[in-house]
């Protein structure tokens, strides 16, 4: 793996500086039915298409941000801060 990610704070960096944080998913409400929690905890969509996901800039600003990455080519199509609108 050697693809590049553009950290919203630090700019374009090699993926080795980051930690992958998984698919972007909504955390169920605490009283949500058990199957919903089970799906959240143990199931992944694992798509072969552009996917929205979390990244953490471990060797940089140490912030969480979001990226849209094509899982087939590892091309990162966009990155943004969680509070900002997704481009």
């Amino acid at each position: 793996m050697s693809f590049l990610l553009t950290c919203p704070h630090c700019g374009e960096r090699p993926v080795a500086e980051f930690r992958f944080g998984g698919e972007l998913r909504a955390r169920p409400a605490e009283d949500a039915p058990e199957p919903e929690w089970a799906a959240y905890l143990y199931e992944r969509r694992n798509v072969d298409a552009p996917q929205e996901e979390w990244w953490f800039h471990r060797l940089g600003c140490r912030r969480w941000f979001l990226a849209r990455r094509d899982t087939r080519s590892n091309q990162v199509l966009a990155t943004w801060l969680p509070e900002g609108p997704a481009p």
């Binding site: 050697s2 605490e30 140490r62 969480w64 609108p85």
Partner: protein
Amino acid sequence: MSSRAAQGARIGRREARARFSFTFDGRRVEAEEADSIAAALFASGVRIFTRSFKYHRPRGLLCCAGRCPNCLVNVDGAPNVRACVTPARPGMQVRHQNAWPSLERDALSAAGAFDRLLPVGFYYKTFIHPPGAWRLAASAIRRVAGLGCIQRGGTPEGYHHEYRSTDVAVVGGGPAGMAAALAAARAGRRVMLVDEQEAPGGMLRGDDRTRVRVGPHAGQTSAEVAERLAADLEAAGVEVRTGAVAFGLYEGRLLGIEQGPAAIELRYDGLILATGAFERPPVFAGNDLPGVMLGTGAQRLLRLYGVRPGRRAVVVTAHDGGLELAAELAEAGIEVAAVADGRAAADHGLAASGLADLGTRVLGGQTICRAVGGRCLEAVELAPGGGRFECDLLCLSTGWEPADALLAQEAGGVAGVGTLVWDPAAGVFRAGGTDGRVMAVGALTGAATLEECLALGEAAGLAAAGAPGPSAPAPPGAFPRTPLICPGSAAGRRFVCLCEDVTTKDIAHAVEEGFDQIELLKRYSTASMGPCQGKMCRAAVAESLAGCTGAPVEAAVPSRARPPGRPVTLGALGAEHAAPVRRTPMHDRHVELGARMTDLGEWKRPEVYSSVEEECRAVREWVGLIDVSTLGKLEVVGRDAGGLLERVYTNRCMDLGPGRLRYAVACDDAGIVVDDGTITRLEEERWFVTTTTGGVEGVEQSLRWAAVPGPGGTGACAHVTNRTAVLAAMNLAGPRAREVLGSLTDADLSPTALPYLGARQATVAGVPALLLRVGFVGELGYEVHVPAGFGAFVWDALLEAGRAFEIRPFGVEAQRVLRLEKGHLIVGHDTDSLSNPLDAGMAWVVKFEKADFSGRAALLRASERGGPQRLAGFTVADRAVIPEGSHVVAAGRPAGRVTSYRRSPTLGCGIGLAWVPEADAREGATVLVAGASGLLSARVTLRPFYDPAGARARS
């Protein structure tokens, strides 16, 4: 006659070349400046350079361009060095490979006589019976298999990684590559040109025969053009990396390059591949004899090193280039016995008439059918007609193949990028398209003439620079194409793959056995899986497969090419050293005190100073000091900091007053314990969190995750700072700890002023310190945090002050024993990825009454259901041996496991923690543990082994 050519313009520099010597198998070899190892060896009479992989057949120079496997040698201990492209250096020690006792007489060449015993895919079907035969055979095979020997012990110096960036990267320093680099640089871009030879120029180097007909370089010879362009590159500021092999295209616009001891990761915006083309060797009987050479190989020896590749030559060709080669050989004083041209005589160009003037016969419609010789080439037989010519050199110039090792990696089929497609006109596979950042130019795309290469290169360079220029590059020319598998049924092996010694017969056998698809055939016969990775044989394998099956050649689509496209030195690849070692501020003190150091994650920690028993006793009876700087330390500050901590940790902390602290456990959303530590409220909005040694990164990420604002939100006002390296920490523990610490501070340490689980700022030995009263080891204890620079100073002060109280430094092993006596678990050691705090006996840290926190939903369900096992303490008789990980056995089946076990010096028996069946997790129950010497009866306890009431830590 000497091998060194004595005349000719290209050799005119010879007199000026400095001379030196190196050794080959201990023998002295004379070399001239700028010689490659192979050139110097060839000039000194060496013809056999290596022995083949399987049959140990003698092999000599073939490509002279670093592609084929025929000249791999050991240089100063480094195996598999390509002699033909590695410059000779004075004093270097070169040794042969894959032959014993010598290249001339190789005992293992007898293998060739037993090839019936070594059929294609023999390792899949021999030595299967009797049972165990393979084990014996494998060890024998391993001794003779493989190429080269790795130098053991000692790390050669100088290997390193380099990270570079450029706007435009150009691979290949031939005319197209140089023109492209120049155009891009002149358009204002930063350009790096990568070429594997010692100077740029590619095929132009040393060529003073070909003259440019049109364009800015009209009238100049190829060699002059190369020199001019090289000077222009320098003037334009192009960074030229010579002796550099580009071996891989990686995602993220990354080009992998090996240059000497450096592995370079080059990031580019645009990439121009101008890797050229190389000659494809035809397959005929005896085609691996030393003396059989590619036409370009012979040319390189002659042009670059002034070394005659032979005395009497036969040239086999199918295009005018071969005829020109024959003339060049003749001019260099080599007798050309015959030229076999696969074309009919009527198709021969002007070059043929030139040859006729030199008195050389051109045989139209003829090709090679057999090479004859013992160790080296002695004669060739042509077909049809069976003409036989004595010679010691056979030059093969029958057609070209694009050097697409890199391009084929790009054309790997990922989104937006094309795949390899068959070009029927050229009879080759080409990259069907690229993603726009990668362009291919020059001979790689079929351009044949120098003028074409220069024009295409310039256009590509301008395009890569985003500058205006001629838009649509000219359509690629066609590669001359001839059948690769020569006709005739002459006796002698016909090698399709030289690296792996695979013959046409092997291919036929494999196809007969059903391996008739290219991918299957490749894996079964190992053809194209050797050092050259198919560069010499891919087309020949496809053609011989087609010959066997009758399917068209284009059905044999090449496999996906993956990096590395060329062999790369492991030393260079492995030179990236990213294994951090972390040391505490008191590290030097531990070493001076004679501690045995141990690795805990990235940290170095003292395992034991003197003896574990003595260290334990000191803590229990007097006082001990341990370096706990490796604890993760986080400062969490802000209005919302407390709320943030309550979301990540299972217990409460908002109810703590300033100056109070609490043990805390963090879970993930599945309710699994991920870390534990303490939370101290320093001030109303300022918190100090300690984590486990390895857990700080995860906890910090979790806290930052919990603080992430939602879409459109502004985020919590809570900030996390990692202060692990800022603070040195030590734990002063034992009944006399208060007296020791009291002698270094004016602060009131009385139990009322600083009670158990209290915290305060104080000055210790003149250094500002944070004191936390904690009891991990179960005694009166102070965790002293001071600025890291003063760590050693305060450590010294505490040891000095404690001398009157028999103080001892203690290591992590004593700490493990002491905490086990208290029944304290270690996250990740006594818990795993299935352990929740309820089953681990810590239900009291989970506060369901507070608002949502990480793991709440899962833990609620777990609390309703209960788990199958509980973490409990157990005791066994003294001196029992129970390795950690041993089974807890119930009804003859594994029903749990031991996570910690030590002999307790305080209690005089064996104590441990184990996951036991839920039903057995009660005070006084008996379980069976599978110890080192059989089943042992263990008594379960749910209370600490030592001081169950915890009075000592509170004292």
